[in-house]
Amino acid sequence: MKGRKWLGLLLVLLLAPALAKTTVTVASWGSQAEIELYNQAFKAFMEKNPDIEVKLLHIPSRDYWTKLSAMFAAGKAPDLIFINNINFPAFAAKGLLVPLEPFIQRDQFDTGMYYQGILKAFEWDGKLYVLPRDVSNLVVYYNRDLFKKAGLPDPDPDWTWDDFLKTAKALTVEKDGKRVQWGLSFYTYFLFWEPWVWSNGGRFFSEDHTKFMLNSPASVEGLQFYVDLRYKHHVAPTPAETADQSAFGMFLNQRTAMIVDGRWRVPTLKKKAKFDWDIVPFPRGKAGSIVDIDGSGWGITKAAKDKEAAWKVLKFLAGPEGALIFTKGGLIIPAIGYDPLNPEATNKVLKAFFQPPPPKHQQYFLTVNKTAMPTETFERFSEAIGLISKALQPVWQGKEDVKTAMDKVAPKVQKILDEVQAQRKK
């Protein structure tokens, strides 16, 4: 007995330095529900890795970068940061993240399980810096009751823009010379109109970000088609008709029969919709059905004290185990798809994604990812999209056509692109 006690003490003494816990701080935004998912994931991780303590640095989403920049300025950056692909290039260009390839190769971590579109979006200068957690994309939500009323069948998943227009027309209802129901709700935020540009073969910028292309014929035609839905065909409500309602509110209140929107609407629709609804992929244009696949994930900062520990945490959070926890929460579309190399784990994640319908056809949230592409972001995208959005304001009000507006803003955006090119060469 006595000997054992001594042995135990000796062990403790020997292990003491090793037992000194490393702390890894993970910065993230998120709702209360997400905070709880984080805590769940951290708990699961720490059970397996008792030598590492993981802490959440939660920051309200709107002021995320304000707080982070202050911490970086004070030299107190967190070890892992959560970031979306739209802000990623601007951040990666600063060289504040650690490239992940060495870790990935050493541990033979399987990145094949992620949707390649979102993985690509987290590459900078050919290197991967972020492992993704979730993706968001767009599908068409539709009100099946209103479809039936108009004598329409469920839309074909391979439908075209022409079909879409015909459907929208059939769903637009007039009473005493006044529109009382419209084919679709109308969003003006850029994430919602990107698919109209891309599916028509257009782009925002050339692939190497040297040239502004929203004023090219294919881009203009695609976006003009969208605007025409509101003014020329009048199958979407004008600002006056929308009044103080939100686009989603109009769909929810059955004033519109369709809306192009993201997965985040499902919980509200399940709770509040008083009609039968479902989803279908975005209609096919000249270049196919291409919606945005944007998303977020974690990267390791150069400031991280213990990069090995940080990698361990990252691997867990973004890997199948972490993904399962976040997917079960029901808030996200996981960035992990089915992976033949890792069928069991990835299948679990996929299964967790499928919750009781509606929507009946929720697999479309996943299938559209195959052709989707990420927002064409670059180092100064936030500034550029600000200018573009401003230029489009008269277009949304029907006072100007797309071509005129985009030609007007072209030199300003081109100037930003030129400056970025010059900066890159340095």
Partner: protein
Amino acid sequence: MKRKTTFWDVLVIGLLLLGGLSMLVPFFWMISTSLKEPGSLFDLPIQLWPKKLHWENYQQVLTIVPFGRWYLNSLIIATGLTFLNLTSGAMAGYAFARFRWRGRDVMFLLSLITLMIPAHVLIIPLFVIMSRLGWIDTYYALILPGLFDAFAIFLMRQHFIQMPKELEEAALIDGAGPWQIYWKIALPLAAPALATLGTFTFLAGWNSFLWPLVATNSIEMRPLTVGLAVFNTNFSTEWTLLMAGLSLATIPPILVFLLAQRWFIRGLTLGSLKG
């Protein structure tokens, strides 16, 4: 002294009441939203007041987030700031109003400079300083900056200037020093100004958002304003919970103001405008 109430009095009071009632509208709206069913923001027609009151929103906001702790933090911060501000602001305000020294006006203008530079560009440098002091995520970082406040000094200075000097001069002749005069005569007479300043400082401390957001790391150290931001995420805002939290947050400032008005009474009974 008693006067008849005239038609004009009724008109004026009526107009004031009307204006005051208009101020009630957003407040009313905030409370009505806080009692609605979650997600009913989209309901048509818009309900002015929910048919069924969803008190469970309040219960939720009290349980799913550390609401009590945030409330306490807000109270500590706002009270601490008010205390510091009243003490140091009144002292400096008195100095600028009654003392004379070379460079006094320059010093006063210099202090006003702090009101003219937007806080947005000062926050990161201040964070760096606080971080060096090791005070990030502590009450020190949230309260101590209240030690200097140009608004407080300015407000108190103007009030001391406006106050009749006679009593102070008499005390001086009786041999009292400036410190005694300040404590025994000037400060008690400045009660209405102190009450005003206290209300403002408490309100400002209670409503402050950007600095506490940047200066705290842990969820437990947050004041209410920052804590409740968790209900406001990129793609969705939980209006009912947010408004329930915000409604509860209005109680202390309203109490403070009702309380502060006690110190107005002196002036009111003595010097109502039309005597």
